[in-house]
Symmetry: C2
Subunit: 345 residues, 2 copies
């Protein structure tokens, strides 16, 4: 019986505990509640034709003759109906005794990724996946014009049981006046790596992974999808541009990314009984907000954008919450092989 | 409508988003699945009389005439039957390309907190709660003799749906060769605070909280239970010794702690429909392991042990996973008032 391993993630500095024994994939996916497909006449307020049920649109990719807030769109971005942050107001950065407080200023937008109910990214034709990526890009560029916001985060919660809209493909974009802790540690570790080695940490990882070829799921000229060495959860996946690129939104050619993203999500769904997953896009922070405060002067050499996809097979245990160690029962080498071959037995 | 707040936790450096509006407590606790009490003749392998079904005991508090691995015990500690870390072997700290790997060495023990099925800490008489705390202490002291282990973590998962033994009160003790990320950030922030102010960060927080009196749940001469200013989840609770104390296990008088712990858990259960919770005890790191490597020279002035209790009302959202921001719909001021008064309407 091989001994389990502690592995350190060089990007976040966290250690994971990776099982080295064989684990029955059936036991893992028996916990998944597959998305209920209401194929026939499922409709919801995000569907084409129901535009009046959402707040007024911020951005859309539309057919030539269609009008704002009417049907004829391909991708549509609207403010979230129940935002937990407000777009108007001052931050009012202040101390309360020894504590630090800011007003809950921020943006919370919904990207509706298709007019059709039940069309997921892995069902779309590649043109539509590209439209989705273009909509992300437009919102990143626009939100970063607001120098109150230090960070813009895109995330998708696929199959979340609490979400009435779970069968209609959508993502959330949130802009915050504070850099999230997770991103902060990434920025610290990438800067330190550059200072020491004069190379981008992510570029180093990509080179080593391409050479090792143990954790690559698929790749094309411009992008690679892999299972990280210290994966915190079974079948965790990262998608990265092979060439050094700090900001997702500085790109304007997404055909190769569309292919990799669609294909990775299709493999995940077909191989593991369509598990719930969380997808997060980490682009560089808002330089306009940082530079005026003297931050992030070296960000363009230090940071490398990426997409993280984490299937949700179970909640966290008390050990994981108390320690920050994640326990992962499937090694990333096994996960990459299963996703490459699309079979586990 | 009051604006939500970003609040920074001075101990971990993380920011939480705290709702300022009234939130319906009924909606929160409707998600809880109350512990199923099999009052009558529930029995399990942790019960008194079933000692042969567990691995041989490491430690027990027993009646005078009782024998090891037989009945007659009050608290009993055994190795976990399915440990994910192994006690024997070398760490074999090594690099794999650019990555860091250690063997999965560690201890994983189960503290069985009562011979009776269904007796939770809030049901016990205070002598028995003290016995539980003494058992924790004995294991902390013993495990820290092993200088391979930098940290010993105690945690309890109350009501975890995956746990067959959930109705039998027990905790886990895990010793690891690496300091957990969460503790590392606590150690960093407390050291920095001391260097700057020549005072312990936790002592400063306790003083401010006692003065503000907005987030105190209850207290006695030696201990205080409060809801942290930047609580990451509704009804998060910390219990701290009022006097500066680095290590839980250096104490040997637990009657006041037993009272506060029992009373806090009773309030949580009676007020919020017996929610699932995670309890973590953070004592100082293993000085014997650190000092020989030149770490933690100032730990005794910097760090202050504490117990964190976090009710589990829902899983994390994709935003929380991607950002590290926690969204908390009940302000700690409201939570403290509800727990003090044991009513929410």
């Amino acid at each position: 019986m091989a001994m389990n391993q502690f592995r350190r993630d060089p990007i976040t500095g966290r250690w994971s505990i990776i099982f080295q024994e064989e684990y029955k994939i059936e036991d893992l996916i028996s916990n998944t509640t597959p998305r209920r497909k209401k194929k026939s006449n499922g409709k919801c307020q995000l569907c084409g034709g129901f535009e009046a049920e959402t707040p007024s649109e911020i951005f859309a990719i539309r057919d030539d003759n269609s009008k704002k807030n009417e049907s004829g769109w391909k991708v549509r971005v609207v403010p979230d109906k129940q935002p937990f942050l407000q777009i108007y107001g001052d931050l009012d950065n202040r101390g309360v005794g020894m504590y630090d407080v800011l007003n809950g200023i921020g943006a919370h937008e919904l990207v509706i990724e298709s007019p059709k109910h039940n069309e997921q990214i892995y069902d779309m034709d590649l043109d539509q996946v590209q439209n989705v990526l273009f909509a992300y890009r437009e919102r990143f560029i626009d939100l970063k014009r607001d120098t109150r916001f230090r960070y813009v985060l895109l995330h998708k919660n696929y199959g979340d049981g609490n979400d009435q809209l779970k069968n209609h493909s959508h993502s959330h974009i949130i802009a915050t006046p504070i850099t999230p802790a997770r991103v902060k540690y990434e920025l610290m570790n990438t800067r330190e790596h550059y200072q020491y080695k004069e190379r981008c940490l992510f570029c180093d990882i990509i080179n080593q992974e391409l050479e090792d070829d143990e954790r690559i799921i698929l790749q094309n000229d411009k992008f690679v999808a892999l299972t990280p060495f210290a994966s915190r959860a079974p079948f965790e996946i990262s998608i990265l541009p092979k060439q050094h690129e700090t900001f997702f939104e500085w790109n304007n050619e997404y055909s190769q990314l569309a292919f990799i993203l669609k294909e990775v999500l299709r493999k995940l769904s077909s191989t593991l009984n369509d598990p719930n997953f969380v997808m997060v896009l980490h682009s560089g922070p808002n330089v306009a907000a940082g530079k005026q405060r003297g931050y992030w002067k070296t960000i363009e050499r230090d940071y490398h954008w990426h997409i993280d996809i984490t299937p949700q097979f179970r909640g966290f245990t008390s050990f994981e919450i108390g320690s920050g160690f994640q326990i992962n029962v499937i090694s990333p080498e096994t996960a990459a092989r299963i996703l490459r071959e699309e079979k586990y037995n």
